[in-house]
Symmetry: C2
Subunit: 198 residues, 2 copies
Amino acid sequence: MAEIEAIAKLVNQLSKLPGVGRKTAQRLAYHIISLPEEQVRELAVAIFNGKKQIHFCPICGNYTDTDPCAICGDDSRRKDIVCVVRDPRDVNAMERMREYNGMYHVLHGVISPMDGVGPDDIRIRELMTRLASGEIKEVVLATNPDVEGEATAAYISRLIKPMGVKVTRIAHGVPVGGELEYTDEVTLLRAYQGRTEL
Amino acid sequence: MAEIEAIAKLVNQLSKLPGVGRKTAQRLAYHIISLPEEQVRELAVAIFNGKKQIHFCPICGNYTDTDPCAICGDDSRRKDIVCVVRDPRDVNAMERMREYNGMYHVLHGVISPMDGVGPDDIRIRELMTRLASGEIKEVVLATNPDVEGEATAAYISRLIKPMGVKVTRIAHGVPVGGELEYTDEVTLLRAYQGRTEL
């Protein structure tokens, strides 16, 4: 059978997504084909726009569709406290707990010698530049409580403390070895409230 | 936090897909955003074209991007035998075993009184029209070996037999209660070879 090219292409594209194997991609493809054309158009447009309209905020490094992002540009938020996280997803996790009202700094990675990621490969230099303005009084290190996250927090702490800025680490209310992204709001709230100075 | 609209829209669209919950949709969305724009365009285009270029073959009812479909239009295939399946996916499953060389007829469903699906809601009438030409000598009923599949096969068999056409049912090599779509080629081959006349 000459497989239908448009379906083969769709299955191929879908199977590139994380956690989507060949079988799942086929199931998704046939589902998509069975949808009304308008719904499929919405999906395709959302995917394309999701990519096209999003870029990194020049200040915090989070995903944004404005310059600066909605958080950096929000005058009702505290400018003197910065929460350092690994990923944009972790900003979402912090925001979900509805307690933190400061700025963010997204590292886009953590120091991981095993993976060849050093301090210069993540946005630590940009953090230093922000701190140089003197406006920031506290840095909350909210990297994941795993080996790389702890090492990254320790590294950043050592860099910042000589500058006289208060450095805190979210408490281990977050299960050790866990992922910030999958932590529920209450646990994350405890972790934030129990943060300790490094 | 004013959630970024383009991301929220993407997550919303992705979470409509079967088997994709909110968490998975978020993971997929962030993955898509992190891809190069060219790859995202390919994905969006594949989704849109997958829908736009595909329609039902006027003869067999399978998905196709040509008229008639590649199988119905293939002169090297036998025209005197028709395999009746529930879904386009099942055509793929049959083709994967590389033994069957005849035509197909896709019912787009099975008789299921519980779900309010009667004989007139699936493509049985179209099958009768095809048989009326007299060209078809054998109908292989390859609906799934579950309650609805068996009932549909029995119903079609009763309709066709008075017309003097040979009616066969794929053997229960396919595990009872299983899905044709997830059956491996060897099992499906046995099921096909062991088909019995009804």
